[in-house]
């Protein structure tokens, strides 16, 4: 029941009533008063007047002119508008002569006749992307700004661990990127490759938030851009590691030293044979104990000593999520090799020791450290290197086995790194191995999308009740996002942060408190990154199957005043005729 229909019905009723009354009058009137001509005039003009009133209120729609709606976004330069095109400017755009609109959805409502959309400039912001809603889209991107266009910080860093920052630089000739630590000292310098990509490496120290920064210099050493790289250093994981070996040795000794210092719960045991054991108090090896172990480090003699039952328990524990690191200290026996091949890691070769050099950063003046590895050919169809030497040959491999991971490590004397003053290297090596292989954490943490001020940040995987979800902002404010029931299993909520800096998402359930920190960029930060993001998202909208452009019926209505004049004229005539009906006094 639209307003126009209601009005039409009312007018129709009025016309009917009026005609009825006219008929009654005609019958009652005296003959002298009767004038057929007047009667016919009144009878004809009444519906005409009603029709004109209707058209005055609801002027007919214009014939739809299929013009293009040109939407100027941030960075839009001169807009090339054809005749019939309409140019609107979103708030970020700065284009002279364009109609300013608060957002794209408003623009589309205002210009609903537009069937084609052309986006010029950097691209649509997240605010405007849903409004496109499958419309045919053409995108004329403006050139990307000079400087950083992509910056990927690390997701998880353990204290003392190294982390990588990926950076893509656009349009800077002879660029050099530097990573600066919180004290402002340069810790890494790289030259971006032809595509502008560089990977910088830094080191975390204590747990908590820490703010590194990247600096882009051009060939003349002038600073092009400096951007903050917020890094959150998690508390170190207290991994439960079990070491089973045939004999104690320096490798295990230094491994235990590192593990103790790094807060790893390591339990090492060595069956020396004949019931004599060394190491920590021996624990039984069964499904129950292995389920409490995050990583099992075992050498070939330990593997032999497990027995069939023990090996089956280990393999089933690996499928259940445990990590397993096979650490041969000599060429394994044929049987062992067959068993390892069943785990996807085939080993062949002589097992002779050979010296390999570890990679060092290019430009480093230090002598590259060397370790000894066994001459084993590691062979696997689906394995990933654990670490590589300076010739990019893998020193070990890992692969996924069920929910867990199995690794094989061919270096036998990594402890010499510690002895030659490269303790950090030794720690980094083993930290990398353990971090790769150890069991995943059991509780799934909520995920937070990348965040920027005044933009929607979606929080998913919120396990608690909606009342227990809090987002703490840097100024101490607390907001309670509500989980959207429509998201179903994903259990998502959203916030629109108003402050930049570190926020904390805290989800409290009956037995746990999950804390997920996330950093919110300010709206001015990293303009290049924002530009690239908008460009890629808009291009994705273009690439998606656009709805075929259909002539939308809801065109604009024409002007009402000619109808009004007509109605006024007709009404005037009616009035005059009506008036002349009565005899003049």
């Amino acid at each position: 029941m639209t307003p126009s229909l209601i009005v039409a019905l009312m007018l129709l009723a009025a016309v009917a009533l009026s005609t009825l009354r006219l008929g009654l009058w005609w019958r009652k009137a005296e003959a002298t008063e009767r004038s057929l001509r007047r009667f016919v005039t009144l009878l004809a003009l009444t519906p005409l007047s009603a029709l004109l009133l209707y058209l005055t209120l609801f002027p007919p729609r214009l014939a739809s002119a299929p013009g293009t709606l040109i939407v100027a976004t941030r960075g839009a330069q001169a807009v090339d508008a054809q005749a019939g095109d309409r140019v609107v400017a979103l708030p970020e755009a700065n284009v002279a002569g364009a109609e300013r609109v608060p957002d794209l959805a408003t623009a589309l409502r205002l210009h609903s006749e537009a069937t084609r959309l052309t986006i010029v400039g950097e691209g649509l912001t997240p605010r405007d992307r849903p409004a496109v809603d499958g419309r045919a889209l053409r995108f004329v991107p403006s050139p990307l700004p000079r400087g950083v266009v992509r910056l990927d910080g690390p997701e998880r860093v353990a204290p003392g661990g190294a982390f990588q920052v990926g950076i893509t630089v656009n349009g800077v000739k002879g660029a050099v990127v530097e990573l600066l630590d919180p004290a402002g000292a340069v810790v890494d310098t790289q030259t971006p490759d032809a595509s502008g990509l560089a990977v910088l490496t830094g080191t975390a120290k204590a747990a908590g938030s820490v703010s590194f920064s990247v600096r882009v210099r051009e060939a003349t050493k002038a600073v092009v851009e400096t951007a903050e790289v917020p890094v959150w250093v998690d508390e170190a994981l207290t991994a439960r590691v079990r070491v089973i070996g045939g004999a104690p040795g320096p490798e295990i000794k230094y491994l235990r030293r590192w593990a103790a210092d790094a807060g790893i719960d390591m339990q090492a045991q060595f069956a020396l044979g004949g019931g004599v054991a060394a190491g920590d108090a021996p624990q039984p090896l069964n499904a129950a104990t292995l389920s409490q172990t995050d990583l099992l480090v075992i050498d070939e003699r330990g593997w032999d000593g497990l027995g069939d039952g023990g090996r089956a328990a280990v393999i089933s524990a690996v499928r259940g999520g445990m990590g397993l690191l096979l650490r041969p200290t000599a060429l394994p026996s044929e049987t062992t090799r067959t068993q390892w091949a069943a785990l996807g890691l085939r080993v062949s070769g002589t097992g002779d020791p050979e010296t390999v050099t570890l990679p060092i950063p290019s430009g480093s003046k230090d002598k590259a450290p060397t370790v000894t590895r066994m001459n084993l050919r590691l062979d696997s169809t689906d394995a990933v290197p654990l670490a590589v030497d300076n010739k990019a040959q893998p020193l070990g491999l890992w692969r996924a086995e069920g929910r867990g991971r199995v690794g094989l490590w061919s270096v036998t004397d990594s402890f010499t790194l510690t002895l030659s003053g490269e303790a950090g290297r030794h720690q980094a090596l083993w930290s990398g191995l353990f971090s790769t292989l150890a069991r995943r954490s059991s509780a799934a943490l909520p995920t937070v999308s990348s965040a920027r001020v005044y933009q929607r940040v979606s929080l998913c995987g919120l396990s608690g009740l909606s009342g227990d979800v809090e987002v703490l902002d840097p100024k101490g404010g607390v907001s309670h996002p509500v989980v959207d029931a429509a998201t179903g299993e994903a259990r998502c909520a959203a916030v629109w942060p108003t402050q930049s800096g570190w926020h904390v998402l805290r989800v409290t359930t009956a037995d746990t408190v999950q804390v997920v920190p996330f950093h919110v960029l300010s709206d001015k930060a990293l303009p290049g990154v924002q530009a690239l993001e908008a460009r890629e998202a808009t291009q994705a909208l273009v690439a998606e199957d656009a709805r075929p452009s259909e002539a939308t019926g809801e065109g604009r209505r024409g002007a009402a005043w000619p109808w009004f004049l007509g109605w006024l004229l007709v009404s005037g005539v009616l009035w005059a005729v009506e008036r002349s009906r009565r005899p003049l006094p």
Binding site: A183, A236, G263, V276, A278, A400, S441
Partner: protein
């Protein structure tokens, strides 16, 4: 008739009038420019004033034109009869009447001075007054604050005291050769033991003024006139702030002290520690380069030690020389030549020199010594041996020379053969065979073979036994066990193999050949082959067939060469080749009491727990509690000041946060300083995120039998 005749003087007078009027104004502007902008201002104002004045004056001159002259003449002189314009009209254009009138006018023409404007003193007076006013105003505006401190003092006497001027007289120690100067900043970087005199003034005057150092020490200032003063000798780097009764807390200032570094000395010539005497050398040139941050003492002491003698009988003689220097104050060179003859430097002597230099620090100079330089005159330039390796190399060729000598002898004999009598040839061949035998016996000792037969007679006297010797080799069937090692060596010099002979002499070695020596099996086999070849060579020599013996002698030499190479692995460093494990005996011993020894590893305590605590507390983590453990850091810093590269900056950052805990940039600075101090903990294990539902399904699908 030209109008210039009248306008010229009028213009000059007008110019002078304007100039006089402009002069005071230009002077005043120039003064104002100087007051505001010193010399630059003065120049700018002067130029500007001159240009403007000149421009105005020239502009004003334009009114003195022809029309003005005509008007002025007509107005001034009635006898011009309003016809002055005829004077300057062209004569050709005039009608006779006009020409006549013109002639009359020329006769009546007055002197040009009539039209000259009078001197105008009134504008000059006004300009003078205006100039003075400008000057006074400028002076008042520019110098008001400086010349009226007492007025400010009087008006603000009720408020809190305020530091209005601070000055530090810095007097570095004289030896640094740095000029004494005055600093107006309170942050200083001075050489150690610099004398500092603070001179502070407060408005209104403060009481109980003192300098409070970060370590708690406080120095009271004493009143001196209308200021406060204190003197201090800077002995170490510190932070301080100025405190007084009623004075608001002042910012911290750095007093950084750079200690005097000891001098550096290096030897330029010779460029190595050990130099050998060159033949005919009579002098030893020495050049030392020294440097210091402030200055090196002009003289230095050269210690010369001469070591004479050989073996244990070495005497040392020590003497010192004083060297004087060349070069600047901070970089000096000490050059000398040591006369070797005068020192009595002779064969086998060592000369060791060392230079000791001092810097010019007062009161106690710092001292540095150069590395010791040695000049050696080797006692025997060929016999320099310093280790077993060289010894072995030295001694072993004695054997090889022998085998080679035998070959040389054989070849010489073969050459001489045509000229020799058969008897002589045979006897010489036999003599070589005897040499070959002796050599064979010597090598045989390495294999543990007992010396053959009885004590050998000198070579050449036992020809009769020679045939037997060959048969003896297989079975030792001699009555007396005479291990005649010594006898086998007629040239009993101390050579390789003596050690074995000691055993042979005093012990009673019935060793099996295989286990007798330290030779490894391969070497022993080679040596055995060499002995066999020697035996063959000897056989043929004794039979008078040196031609046949020669190939064997060569082969023997080749094998001995191999042995020589093999001596490099004489004592294996790789480790013993263990005998194979007897599995029957394995693990059969008693194992009671063998208990696993728990080797507990305790985590090394973090050296900087307070730093980590403060670092964490300073993080802008939402929802974290906000108290800063600054006191703990103070304690840590006192204990670990040596570990921190720049403790003053750290202290300053701590103080800034203590003063204003809410200051975000101060907290950021302190965090940066703490980051420098933080040690990198051992890299731990980074947690991996839990597997997602889809990820889990994927991993499970991978495991399905394929």
């Amino acid at each position: 008739m030209t109008p210039q005749r009248f306008t010229g003087p009028a213009r000059l007078r007008s110019l002078l009038n304007d100039g006089l009027t402009a002069l005071p104004l230009i002077a005043a502007t120039t003064f104002a420019g100087w007051a505001v902008g010193a010399e630059t201002g003065l120049l700018i104002a002067l130029c500007l004033g001159l240009v403007v004045a000149f421009g105005l004056a020239v502009w004003r001159l334009r009114r003195f034109d022809r029309a003005w002259v005509i008007a002025a003449l007509n107005a001034h002189r009635a006898d011009m009869e309003d016809s002055a314009d005829l004077l300057f009209a062209r004569t050709e254009d005039l009608n006779p009447l006009q020409a006549l009138q013109r002639q009359r006018l020329i006769e009546r023409l007055p002197s040009p001075a009539v039209l000259t404007p009078p001197w105008r003193w009134k504008p000059v007076g006004f300009a003078l007054a205006a100039g003075l006013a400008i000057a006074a105003l400028t002076a008042a505006l520019v110098w008001w604050p400086q010349t009226h401190p007492t007025a400010a003092y009087g008006t603000t006497a009720i408020g809190a005291p305020k530091l209005i001027s601070a000055e530090i007289a810095v007097t570095p120690p004289a030896y640094t050769r740095q000029a004494a100067h005055r600093e107006t900043t309170l942050d200083l970087k001075v050489p150690q033991n610099t004398r500092l005199v603070w001179r502070l003034r407060f408005a209104p005057d403060a009481a109980n003024v003192r300098l409070v150092f970060h370590d708690g020490q406080s120095v009271a200032l004493r009143r001196d006139g209308n200021g406060w003063t204190a003197a201090l000798s800077a002995d170490r780097s510190r932070l301080y702030r100025i405190a007084a009764d009623g004075l608001p807390t002042q910012p911290l200032h750095r007093l950084e002290v750079t200690p005097d570094s000891p001098p550096k000395v290096e030897a330029v010539l010779p460029d190595r520690a050990l130099t050998l005497v060159t033949p005919g050398q009579t002098q030893w040139p020495l050049v030392f380069a020294t440097s210091d941050d402030y200055g090196v003492a002009p003289t230095a002491e050269l210690r010369i030690i001469q070591a004479q003698g050989q073996g244990e009988n070495i005497t040392f003689r020590e003497r010192t020389m004083t060297l004087s220097s060349t070069g600047g104050a901070a970089d000096k060179r000490f050059v000398t030549r040591i006369d070797l003859k005068a020192l009595g430097f002779a064969v086998g002597d060592d000369l060791i020199v060392q230079l000791t230099v001092q810097d010019n620090r007062v009161p106690s100079p710092q001292e540095a010594r150069s590395p010791s330089l040695i000049l050696r005159w080797p006692s025997d330039l060929g016999a320099e041996s310093t280790g077993l390796e060289a010894l072995a190399r030295k001694t072993l060729p004695a054997y090889f020379r022998s085998q080679r000598q035998i070959i040389i002898d054989i070849e010489a004999l073969l050459k001489e053969k045509p000229r020799l009598k058969p008897d002589t040839f045979l006897s010489r061949s036999d003599a070589i065979g005897v040499d070959q035998r002796l050599l064979r016996l010597r090598y045989g000792q390495f294999l543990g073979e007992e010396a053959e037969g009885e004590r050998e007679a000198p070579p050449g006297l036992e020809e009769g036994h020679s045939e037997n010797d060959g048969h003896d080799h297989g079975g030792h069937d001699h009555g007396g066990h005479d291990h005649g090692g010594l006898a086998a060596k007629p040239d009993a010099a101390p050579v390789f193999g003596d050690g074995g002979n000691v055993t042979a002499e005093y012990g009673h070695t019935h060793d099996e050949p295989e286990a007798a020596t330290l030779l490894d099996p391969e070497t022993r086999a080679t040596l055995k082959k060499a002995l066999d070849e020697m035996w063959q060579s000897e056989l043929h020599l004794r039979q008078g067939n040196p031609q046949t013996a020669l190939p064997h002698a060569y082969k023997a030499l080749g094998y001995i060469k191999e042995v020589q190479q093999a001596t490099r692995i004489f004592l294996s460093r790789v480790g013993p080749e263990l005998p194979p494990i007897d599995n029957n005996r394995r693990m059969t011993g008693k194992r009671e009491g063998i208990a696993p020894v728990p080797f507990a590893v305790t985590a090394a305590p973090s050296p900087d727990a307070p730093v980590v605590a403060l670092w964490t507390a300073l993080a802008e983590t939402p929802g974290a509690k906000n108290d800063l453990p600054l006191e703990a850091l103070d304690g840590w810093l006192r204990a670990n000041e040596g570990r921190v590269s720049d403790p003053l900056s750290l202290l300053a950052a701590v103080e800034a946060v203590r003063a204003d805990p809410g200051c975000a940039s101060c907290r950021q600075t302190l965090r940066g300083q703490l980051w420098r101090v933080l040690t990198r903990p051992p890299a731990g294990v980074a947690p991996r995120p839990a597997v997602t539902a889809s990820g889990g399904r994927y991993l499970d699908a991978l495991e399905r039998p394929r």
